[in-house]
Symmetry: C2
Subunit: 140 residues, 2 copies
């Protein structure tokens, strides 16, 4: 099968609270929004933020819990951008989980949650390339 993920959907409780984090904090532009979902066109796939009750109904599964065993990452271009981005997102409804420090594999990273407790790693990792269009390639 094609090595492809089309959508990441995050369950959220409040559309405007989440929008503030993603659209105002990250500064990302929605490609579609209605009263229950906002889509963002990302680097080769789509990010959706959808009311959790609607996601539950679509998945036919209830009792979705947090914090969850997953994280999303956003890579930044410079070492100094890591803590600055964590601080910035904390002013838009984020909550700092881990301040920027160096992981064993090199670079620099920290973690912040979005307003729905989804974890975001903000990382500077010079071994990974990022194209001007935002396409990210693994490297060591």
């Amino acid at each position: 099968m094609q090595q492809q993920i089309s959508v990441i959907t995050l369950g959220i409780a409040d559309l405007s609270r989440s929008r503030r984090f993603y659209a105002d904090g990250f500064g990302w532009k929605p490609v579609f929004e209605n009263e229950e979902i906002i889509f963002y066109q990302m680097n080769g796939f789509v990010l959706g933020t959808w009311l959790t009750r609607a996601l539950e109904a679509d998945m036919q599964r209830t009792g979705l819990a947090a914090p969850a065993a997953f994280a999303l990452a956003h890579n930044v271009a410079a070492r100094d951008d890591v803590q600055a981005t964590l601080d910035h997102l904390s002013r838009f409804g984020g909550r700092l989980l881990r301040a920027a420090d160096a992981p064993p594999h090199g670079g620099l990273r920290g973690y912040v949650t979005d307003p729905d407790d989804h974890a975001w790693e903000i990382a500077w990792n010079p071994a990974w390339s990022i194209s001007p269009e935002g396409l990210v390639t693994f490297g060591i």
Copy 2:
């Protein structure tokens, strides 16, 4: 900030059990693997499957719970591929959550979990374009 997600990291309990679902079930080729993590180069970003205890240590957060309020999606090229893919993944450690049927917005979709209870939507959505390289573009 660049509209970019660099990594999706899924917490997993058992590396070989998870590898069977992703590498054998989906047929995706790892770009890197060691005793605690496997990375897959995806369409413009990287998928990581990492032992949950290591992810918890990295995030400095414990008590990660499931099922979680998020879903990943993989889009297929043809309507008939949806149920076939759900059935296929169920033979590699997946568990069917919702059989293929038509959502209100059109197309066809169903859900299957990976062995660590992460939800995957398998969808056919002709309004969204997918390039030969797997780059997915939102459409209505």
